[in-house]
């Protein structure tokens, strides 16, 4: 029974990885996808040097949050600490995705976050998308910096390092990754031809309520000040 469940998680990682690859949010060797093993302090993650086009369940790496490998075969994504930092601080999160989607990567290199330009941005992500300061990849710092930039929201940019999103399911996390790229493209485009109209001053409480009830995954205590 337990084995079957684990097989399902592996399949879910593969499904999400193929989805972001097919939506052109990552290329081979870029980005990573993980799923938490139910309520355990373990995750299933795409392997290091991941080839999305030939990825299958056997290549998914099972490991404990303390770093102990629980599967043999491939090595885990080198960004596994970033994923674990999010799972540790957010018990509701079931899926974490990191992409290098093009427009979001451009903004991440310019170290520009995405201000509030569309109302859906609040519903799905919680509001503006902030940028985490540069932290060397694969270190504990990048995890802390990412959590800081996430605040109580579901997506952040990582300086010179693309996008991080987390969600209560793989399906919604894929959606968030796709949506961050869309917003990045729209924001980037408005900057080329003028100035975006930014929504901060509007009355947007009903969208915040939707975010809190439908998609928020940070600890409840953080939502009080949201």
């Amino acid at each position: 029974m337990a084995i079957e469940k684990e097989d399902q998680y592996r399949m879910e990682v593969v499904r999400a990885a193929k989805a972001i690859f097919n939506k052109h949010l990552v290329e081979n060797n870029e980005g990573n996808v993980s799923i938490r093993n139910g309520k355990k302090e373990e995750l299933f993650i795409t392997p290091s040097a991941n080839q999305y086009d030939t990825l299958n369940e056997d290549q998914i790496v099972h490991m404990a949050f303390d770093g102990t490998p629980l599967s043999s075969g491939k090595l885990p994504s080198t960004e596994v600490k970033l994923h674990i930092a999010i799972y540790n601080s957010r018990p509701k999160v079931q899926c974490v995705i990191h992409t290098h989607s093009t427009y979001a990567s451009m903004l991440s290199i310019l170290r520009k976050g995405i201000p509030l330009i569309m109302e859906e941005q609040i519903i799905y992500l919680g509001g503006s998308i902030d940028i985490a300061p540069y932290g060397e990849a694969h270190t504990d710092e990048i995890g802390k910096a990412a959590l800081n930039a996430l605040g109580c929201k579901n997506g952040a940019l990582l300086a010179n390092h693309g996008v991080i999103v987390c969600g209560r399911s793989a399906t919604e996390t894929i959606k968030f990754a796709e949506f961050v790229e869309k917003l990045a493209k729209v924001y980037w485009g408005t900057l080329q031809i003028g100035e975006p109209y930014i929504l901060e001053k509007e009355n947007l409480d009903k969208f915040r309520t939707m975010f809190k009830s439908l998609f928020a995954n940070c600890p409840r205590s953080m939502l009080k000040e949201f």
């Binding site: 569309m118 080329q192 031809i193």
Partner: protein
């Protein structure tokens, strides 16, 4: 309305929705597509949180203009009021589509109108593409602003909210949603290269008759090309 006919109309909505999805004009959870039920104050509309790749005709919501849902299952798109406002104002409209297509959404977030830059724009859409004043989505004010920006035409941008098009058929509406994105892309590109040169003054009147006879959905006596 017999069940068989309603089934055919549902297929119209599914086909329209799949087309705008395949053309990249919407992504999962974005936009909405509806079809009027002839001679009734009712419509069929895509559900809220619509996922275009796996949805089917059973997911389409049948509802009255007053908001009452007549079908079981999914909840309607939260933008249904916008669709109803267009159907009520324009009896000729059979299909309404709202997208977040990328370049048009850029224009809408930068609050930039699209002047008449190619002739087909007049034939299909009736002239320039305006941007409605910002109002919070799902409100009556949001619908009012969109209707105002539509004027006598078939398409408008909505501030920070993408595109609205309406047509005499689903085929027309899909074509218009596609054309708005194309025009937004061209206008965007031309703006970067030095600025779009509008053709309104010369070419617009020549094509207004085509628009009025084949594609217009408004109730005014005649369209105006200019702002």
């Amino acid at each position: 309305m017999s069940l068989i006919n309603e089934d055919l109309l549902r297929i119209e909505v599914v086909n329209g929705a799949k087309k705008v999805f395949q053309k990249g004009l919407v992504q999962a959870g974005e936009g909405n597509i509806s079809f009027r039920i002839p001679n009734k104050d009712e419509l069929l509309i895509t559900p809220t949180f619509n996922t275009y790749d796996d949805f089917e005709k059973a997911d389409i919501v049948h509802m009255k203009f007053n908001g009452k849902v007549l079908s079981e299952g999914r909840l309607p798109s939260s933008e249904y009021k916008l669709h109803v406002a267009v159907y009520q104002l324009r009896p000729k409209v059979m299909a309404v589509i709202h997208t977040h297509s990328p370049y048009a959404t850029i224009m809408s977030a930068a609050i930039k109108k699209i002047p008449v830059i190619i002739e087909e724009q007049v034939i299909f859409l009736g002239g320039y593409i305006d941007v409605s004043e910002f109002a919070s989505a799902h409100t009556d004010e949001f619908s009012k602003n969109a209707i105002q920006a539509l004027g006598t035409r078939n398409a408008t941008l909505m501030a920070n909210h993408g595109v609205l098009v309406c047509g005499r058929s689903m085929k027309h509406a899909v074509k218009m949603a596609e054309l708005v994105e194309k025009l937004a892309w061209i206008h965007y590109g031309a703006t970067l290269m030095g600025g779009t040169i509008s053709i309104s003054e010369n070419s617009c009147p020549m094509f207004i008759d085509d628009f009025e006879s084949k594609f217009s959905t408004h109730r005014e006596f005649t369209s105006r090309c200019e702002e």
